[in-house]
């Protein structure tokens, strides 16, 4: 379950970090469990929190896939920064657009 070899900093991707199949298998199991959980939770009435929980679980699943299946955990800072900036602009688009819709109701000028 632990990483097979420590990250070799000096090589800069010259040597791809090989992740053990055990890690992959563990991630798969966790992902499937989360899938079952999210379905189960959707049958429980939590009010607005249904959506929140569903999205939170989706985010956790995404994180797992990105970190392990996509090897971000073992990637260079540049790649990490790339992912973060993508997610950031994604949220900019969504949040600034939604902010317009939400704040329209605040007052009618």
């Amino acid at each position: 379950m632990e990483l097979q070899s420590p990250r070799s900093d000096e090589t800069h991707g010259e040597h791809i970090h090989v992740v053990s199949p055990k890690v992959y298998l563990a991630i798969l199991v966790i992902l499937l469990i989360f899938t079952a959980t999210t379905v189960a939770v959707s049958y429980v009435d939590l009010g607005v929190f249904n959506a929140v929980v569903a999205l939170a679980i989706a985010c956790i699943k995404m994180m797992l896939v990105v970190l392990f299946f996509m090897h971000i955990k073992y990637s260079t800072k540049l790649t990490k920064l790339t992912v973060v900036s993508g997610v950031f602009i994604f949220f900019t688009l969504i949040s600034l657009t939604l902010a317009d819709y939400i704040s329209r109701a605040w007052g009618r000028w």
Binding site: I16, V18, S42, A54, T79, F90, L93, L98
Partner: protein, 251 residues
């Protein structure tokens, strides 16, 4: 970052023939080539995030406006099918990750096996998706082409769903808005399916090349990058699933 990697290459320029066959002439080392294409793949995925970003934005606005319609629309989808598709896709992601591992460790037979499994699961997903779409078509849930509000203004007309959720009838104006839900459903799952189809085609091509031993001789860039793509498509589905299938299932 790459300065350190490339300092030595001014001298190496004349020694291109020593490079492995898969190294392209304008790179000074395999590492640089791998780095570059891997980074490029990530940037491409960034593009994809923003591509789906437009759809998610539209979805969130419509869902907030027409929540009852989205609930009613969502109840029309089979949660069993949705969960199965999610599981299929997650497992295919796992087999893809395994394929990358096989390529990295030079296991040719296992690589072909993992890729084939991934392909199989991808095709299964697409078939399930097609089956589900067919269901929507039969049930008159395809906005613009074959759509009726019958199931929403009179939920009892759809006994299967009604038995489970006892949906209250929607007013006609809200029932019309279920069309918005299904429009987004088809666009989002359609765009996702389009990515899957592209992925499946590339997989077929990759299996052929893997049989020729192309990826097990040290050149794993392509498998690795395709893996990133496949996982990304999986992530999109991870979000589509709760957003489209799991709206207020408890009612």
């Amino acid at each position: 970052m790459s300065e350190t990697a490339s300092t030595t290459h001014g001298v190496l320029a004349g020694a291109q023939h020593e490079h492995p066959p898969y190294q392209r002439h304008h790179f000074s080392s395999v590492a640089q080539q791998f780095d570059a294409s891997n980074f490029a793949m990530w940037l491409f995925l960034l593009t994809e995030i923003m591509f789906f970003g437009g759809l998610f934005t539209s979805y969130l606005i419509m869902r907030n406006w027409y929540y009852p319609a989205f609930v009613a629309g969502s109840h029309q989808l089979s949660i069993f099918l949705g969960t199965t598709m999610t599981a299929v896709l997650i497992i295919s992601s796992f087999t893809m990750a395994m394929a990358v591992w096989c390529a990295e460790t030079g296991r040719k037979r296992d690589l072909i096996l993992s890729l084939s499994l991934t392909l199989l699961l991808g095709v299964v997903f697409l078939c399930l998706k097609g089956f589900e779409w067919h269901g929507e078509w039969v049930e008159y849930h395809v906005p613009g082409l074959r759509f009726s509000v019958e199931n929403f203004v009179n939920p009892a007309s759809d006994p299967q769903v009604f038995k489970e959720y006892h949906d209250k009838p929607l007013a006609t104006d809200m029932a019309e808005n279920v069309g918005q839900y299904f429009f987004l459903y088809f666009v989002m799952t359609g765009m996702h399916a389009l990515h899957m189809i592209i992925g499946v085609s590339v997989l077929t091509f990759m299996i052929l090349r893997a049989r020729a031993g192309d990826y097990t001789s040290g050149h794993v860039t392509f498998v690795e990058n395709f893996g990133l793509y496949w996982h990304f498509v999986d992530i999109v589905w991870i979000f589509l699933f709760p957003l489209l299938y799991l709206i207020s299932r408890h009612s």
